[in-house]
């Protein structure tokens, strides 16, 4: 059975940390490769961008159709064959 769960906002607090590391990590890499300098404004900007990505991903994941396994109920299960 396949169903679409629909868009709903998902907030997972600890993903803020992963998002922050993601944003700041890439900012430092861009500086190391000579693409830009680092400033306080950019530090805040990339950190916020990372946090937004970290929070937005679980929300986007809710848009993907999810295949749910239908578990048979106990009543519907066939009786065990006598040994």
């Amino acid at each position: 059975m396949e169903e679409t769960r629909g868009f709903h906002f998902v907030f997972r607090p600890w993903r803020i940390l992963i998002g922050l590391l993601f944003g700041v990590g890439y900012m430092i890499l861009l500086q190391q490769y000579g693409i830009m300098t680092i400033s306080v404004g950019k530090l805040v900007m990339f950190g916020l961008l990372g946090i937004v990505i970290g929070i937005a991903l679980p929300t986007l994941a809710t848009l993907i159709p999810r295949r749910e396994r239908k578990r048979p109920s106990a009543a519907a299960m066939p009786p065990e064959a006598p040994r």
Partner: protein, 166 residues
């Protein structure tokens, strides 16, 4: 939410695409860093571990000077000093190799000069330190953090989508 994302996107483009520091000198001085005139050149390139020569000149005697390497909220001072000789020109060498732990890449180098009549001069230039980022402590750490957090976010997305660990 859409407005917030658009605003963040616009700020991101402004901060990344628009150059942060174009070389210039504010005040009655001329300045050269790594052989580049700050009034004419925006960026110079040096090799990792190289020394950087600087010259500050004015029509007044120079009494104090300072050369700063800016890295986000931090500022290192590779060279600074005072002068009582009455010279109108100060020159010296800053050893960027002492700051090799910062890695390679693009930095803003700022010079501040105080003149005998109390006026101040300030100038900045972008210095690109060439080298392989992955062989430096900062570069390798940033690469590891970026890679691990990217993989983590992908796995968490797939988990939320019900593709993994369901």
């Amino acid at each position: 939410m859409k407005g917030l994302l658009l605003g963040l996107g616009a700020l991101f483009i402004m901060l990344v695409v628009i150059p942060t520091a174009s070389a210039k000198v504010d005040g009655p001085c001329t300045a050269m860093i790594a052989g580049a005139d700050l009034m004419l050149t925006d960026k110079v390139t040096v090799q990792a571990g190289d020394t950087v020569d600087y010259v500050f000149a004015a029509d007044q005697p120079v009494v104090a000077y300072e050369l700063q390497l800016l890295y986000g909220p931090y500022a290192a001072t590779p060279s600074q000093g005072t002068s009582e000789s009455g010279d109108k020109q100060i020159s010296g060498t800053a050893n960027l190799g002492d700051y090799a732990w910062l890695g390679v890449g693009l930095y803003e180098v700022k010079g501040n000069v105080e003149l005998a009549d109390g006026s101040m001069c300030a100038g900045s230039i972008l210095v690109e330190v060439e080298g392989n980022p992955l062989t430096t402590a900062v570069g390798a750490t940033a690469a590891a953090i970026s890679g691990a957090s990217t993989i983590g976010l992908i796995l968490l997305f797939l988990k939320d989508a019900g593709v993994l660990f369901s």
